[in-house]
Amino acid sequence: MSGKEEVLSRQISVKSKVRVQMPRKLRGILLGSAIPAVLLVVWQYLSHIGVFESHLMPAPTAVFDKLAEMVNDGSLYGHVGITLYRIFFGFVIGVSAAVVLGALVGYAKTAEHLLDPLIQAFRAIPSLAWVPLFILWMGIAEPSKITLIAVGVFFPVYLNIVSGIQGVDRKLIEVGKIYNFSDFELIKRIILPASLPSFLVGIRSGLGLGWMFVVAAELMGASKGVGYLLVVGQNTYSPDLVIASIVLIAILGKTSDSLLKKLEDRALHWQDSIGKKA
């Protein structure tokens, strides 16, 4: 009896030891992929027994085959490359414009009165409503797509910069004033670093919208790109291609967001918040 208890308790202690020793990062990855893995298995099983009809919802293996096929014939790189190119330039242009205008509106009251109502009015227009105009002005080549993406990225970044700057603690700014900082020094040494957290939040949600708009732009008129693959999939009745494109977008979007998240953690390591303690 007592021997059995001993064995039992020893087992428990070994188990907990293993859990402690597992690197935190690995544990996070394992936990994060547990549910997707289960869903994949269920999906595969349901496709296998015929609950999902293959001409509507192909099995994961079929989707994977399609992806592998595109990798093998080399067509995938071209599509992914052009999509990344569009989102990169759209994102950079949108963020740059938002930084300049956001800093101006956040810092100078006059600029706020002058510009903010106008920008807010523009924000009320769904960005997709611009599409006809952009195509009219710039044709269906790259400029109109990049502009659309830039417009989509602009607003969340702008809003977060303005609220970040306006939310900077007056007490910290006074410290700079005591040392007779010029406006430029105040912005550079206190206001920008202090508003960095909300700026990064804005950038991440901006990138999310960027992915949305790059796909929208490519759906509407492109001869290449991940969004174009969706259209091809629809027109050729190949759901495997549609799902493969969706998976591709998910992977690319998640990867780019993880990169930004990593950058955020790097830049904000000084923050004292719950998220950092875990």
Binding site: E174, K177, I178, D272
Partner: protein
Amino acid sequence: MKMLALENISRTFANGSAGFKNVSLEAEKGEVIGVLGTSGCGKSTLLRVLSGLDQEYTGHVKVNGNAIKSVHKDIGIIFQEPRLMPWLTALENIAFGLKGAAKKQKQAEEFTNLVGLAGFEGHYPKDLSGGMAQRVSIARSLITKPEILLLDEPFSALDAFTKMQLQDLLLSIWKQYQTTMVLVTHDIDEALYLCDRIIILRGQPGEVYKELTVQQPRPRSRGDAELARQKEEILSFLNLNKTSQEDHYEKSNTPAK
């Protein structure tokens, strides 16, 4: 020439019912002046005016005989809260007010040692205790070598022991640099322990009600009988209110913000 001279300074808000008025004051080099008063009598406003952060006042502030109207490099201030930049390390915070990179590092290290923070240079404010953070803030204000140091209830948020340690630190700094100090506080013991002269502000808006000198030579004992007697005296000054004694008593008991 007086190090610091205030000539008939007034700064009021809310239709004249808050702030202070007609304050005149002179300080010699190296003098430590305490400003005592119940909350709402304009003590902190007085320091904001002196520091140049608040320029909406009437009257003149003179440093070494020159009238000033904005922030001045010879005047440093220590706030009630440390007000550290959370994204800078202790050392970088200390060097915050230094212009030009030359000797910055060395000077910052020197002042880190001065306030007893050697070994904590690389810590971020989130990892510092309240007392350590206030030490950083003291070093930050001293590093620009101000001739006049303004202190706005600098130790009021600290526990009793840390408070005593930092008061002694302040005295040792005063000994070394002979800085003129204006200390705003609502802690009578603190004022008696640190100051040469104590100004009592009263009323709303606050006016100079009484001025008394503390003769005891430093270092003073915290339990000194003469200081205890003066404390009684100050308490009686603060409680004697011609208009409404009870109202004033209540105010003196509300913790100052």
